[in-house]
């Protein structure tokens, strides 16, 4: 039983990160209908930028803010320089465009930071805490807390603010939104900036646990994409459910079956769910209703 609890806690921690990455996918997809496979690279940039800033001796809180701003600018640039110019391209071309961006960012990162895994300090003192027979590090608690805060803030932003309404409007019908004075271009820009910020936040939170390296983005991006697909593209609650589910599957699969086989288990279950419910757990219908 203690084992089970431990695996669940680990699964929820890693699942929270997948959920934040998946929320980045959903944020961009629901506004622009682009699947941004460079989402994992934002996470990687978040972790590695924090490493550099803290090794320059920047105070932790300042490094945190600078990292998020820096990665957000990269996300904004990506939309402004690339996605906007490929307007009207078909889904396959757009996916390839973001894959190209991901490879490009990864290549640059490996030239800047090298290929080693780097060490980033945890947010607070990292002495493991014991909860009912399972140990959890304070950093893992931070990760889960950040996910909860991000989800609530995103919920408030989308459902309670004017920006959120504009977001929803341009996702449902860009032309009508434009007639109402909303700029879908601005919203597309905003969605990329926002999801880059989300990626950076995920990178910051997970850096002390995962030891960031230039190539960590690929797998995180794939898992985030899987989570978004599993939950149903375009559904924010779906993304969170998908992320947590993948985290749990991975952790329980690694714990009870084999750590090498965890990806096989996870992706087989994803294939199975897609087979039963091709549009994901919460389906794409929520897009039509205008929810993120």
């Amino acid at each position: 039983m203690g084992d089970f609890f431990q695996f669940t806690l680990t699964g929820l921690t890693i699942g929270s990160i997948y959920a934040i990455v998946a929320l980045g996918f959903v944020t961009i997809y629901s506004v622009t209908k682009v699947i941004n496979l460079a989402q994992g690279e934002f996470v990687m940039l978040g972790g590695l930028t924090m490493y550099s800033l803290s090794s320059f001796g920047m105070p932790y809180w300042l490094g945190f803010i600078v990292t998020i701003v820096f990665v957000s600018i990269i996300g904004w640039l990506m939309e402004f320089v690339l996605i906007r110019r490929a307007k009207g391209a078909n889904p396959i071309s757009l996916i390839i465009l973001t894959i190209g961006t991901a490879i490009f960012i990864r290549g640059i990162a490996s030239m800047v930071w090298g290929k080693d895994q780097l060490r980033v300090d945890p947010f607070t003192e990292n002495k493991p805490v014991n909860i009912v027979g399972a140990t959890i590090t304070p950093q893992a608690i931070w990760v889960i807390l950040i996910m909860l805060v991000v989800v609530s803030l995103l919920y408030i932003l989308i459902n309670k603010t004017m920006v959120g309404k504009a977001f929803q409007a341009s996702s449902i019908n860009p032309l009508a939104a434009r007639l109402m004075g909303i700029s879908p271009k601005k919203m597309a820009s905003l969605s990329f900036t926002l999801s880059a910020a989300l990626g950076a936040l995920a990178g910051l939170a997970i850096a002390p646990i995962m030891f960031p390296s230039y190539d960590m983005g690929t797998m995180l991006g794939i898992k985030g994409f899987s989570a978004a697909i599993l939950g149903g593209l375009g559904s924010a609650p779906g993304a969170v459910i998908g992320g947590l589910l993948i985290g749990l599957l991975e952790s329980l699969g690694a714990g009870y079956i084999s750590s090498g086989m965890k990806d096989v288990i996870t992706f087989s279950v994803i294939l199975l769910i897609l087979l039963i419910r091709p549009s994901g757990i919460l389906g794409e219908k929520s897009v039509g209703k205008g929810g993120l």
Partner: protein, 347 residues
């Protein structure tokens, strides 16, 4: 339907290309270039299949390396562990990936667009992980050693010129086969699916069947490439069949132009050449590392999608066609040519 413009010269193209393939080793004899040219041939087989899938069936596969790996491992397991003759394993290296594609396509026929991309991505990761984990059968992360060389009429086909010719012999077969498919009834059906799946199914085209056939064919091509790879190199390991390999095949097709058999071939050659140039420059300048290669691949993908979304070959072919049509008195039906090659997916 009459063939038009550049397409008319299809068989001429194959002939000229075959001659170029035959002459290449006579002019360039360094083994470094020959090895790369042989690899280019292996990749070209995969890229042509993927190009058919993307350009004609309008489906994206992010897991083509899985079929490539299965082809390579099928023959390695049978020849090294079970002692089969390499030629006997060739049909199996085609059938097993094809069968997997059939099962996958059959169960996943309800999926399209991003969801199918996800399914192929998942397949790629599952196969790669299984290759590492099933140590008893696949020898784990270190992979297979001592894969036998091919023999033909008592001669061993060594690496170098003989293997180069063998690989490119298969490339030309695949090329002719694909050109025939593209210009046949199936090809026309696929193009109509590409333009409008609903319209073509209402005209009685069995869209699902054709899409499935192309998916299976592309998997079999990848299996063939895997078989060729295994018997070329003495050893294979799972690291050759990763997600990154799938992405590289995608890059080849996108660069050359999907929806064009020649495009995929030319894209492969260009990507391979870029790799060689970066490798050579890397020997001269210390800042050019293998990472730099990836920066360039990424840059190419971005630039191509933005500036030549249909890929280099179809764009160039249309450009030549438009020059030809200005000169000739008979107007070519250019819109239909363009439409046929448009890189456009509706689902």
């Amino acid at each position: 339907m009459k063939l038009q413009g550049v397409q008319q010269t299809k068989w001429m193209g194959v002939l000229i290309f075959t001659l170029a393939v035959l002459i290449f080793p006579l002019i360039i004899t360094q083994s470094f270039y020959l090895t790369h040219a042989t690899f280019a041939g292996i990749y070209a087989i995969i890229a042509i299949g993927l190009g058919l899938l993307m350009g004609y069936a309008g489906q994206i596969s992010l897991g083509q390396a899985a079929f490539y790996g299965i082809g390579a491992y099928t023959t390695s397991i049978l020849t090294v562990t079970m002692g089969w003759s390499p030629w006997l394993t060739l049909p199996l290296a085609l059938i097993i990936p094809g069968l997997l594609a059939f099962i996958m396509g059959y169960t996943m026929s309800r999926l399209s667009g991003y969801y199918l991309a996800m399914a192929t991505l998942a397949l790629g990761i599952i196969v790669h992980t299984l290759l590492v984990e099933f140590r008893g059968i696949t020898k784990g992360a270190s992979g297979f050693f001592g894969i036998p060389q091919l023999e033909l009429f008592g001669y061993t086909i060594n690496q170098g010129v003989p293997y180069y010719y063998l690989v490119w012999f298969f490339v030309i077969i695949v090329l002719i086969l694909s050109l025939n498919i593209v210009h046949s009834r199936v090809g026309r059906a696929l193009r109509s699916i590409h333009d409008s799946e609903i319209a073509s199914s209402s005209m009685g085209v069995n869209t699902g069947k054709y899409k499935m056939q192309v998916f299976i064919l592309s998997a079999m091509f990848a299996g063939l490439a895997g078989w060729l790879l295994a018997h070329m190199s003495y050893s294979i390991s799972p690291s050759m069949f990763t997600f990154n390999a799938s992405i590289l095949f995608l890059a080849m097709v996108v660069l050359g132009g999907s929806g064009s058999v020649w495009g995929a071939l030319i894209g492969t050659l260009l990507i391979k050449m870029i790799g060689i140039v970066v490798h050579i420059l890397g020997g001269q300048f210390t800042f050019i590392t293998s990472d730099f290669e990836h920066v360039i691949y990424g840059l190419i993908l971005m630039l191509v999608v933005i500036f030549v979304p249909r890929g280099l070959f179809p764009t160039a072919a249309d450009w030549i066609n438009s020059i030809l049509s200005k000169k000739s008195t008979i107007k070519l039906d250019k819109p239909s040519v363009m439409k046929a090659r448009r890189f456009d997916v509706k689902d």
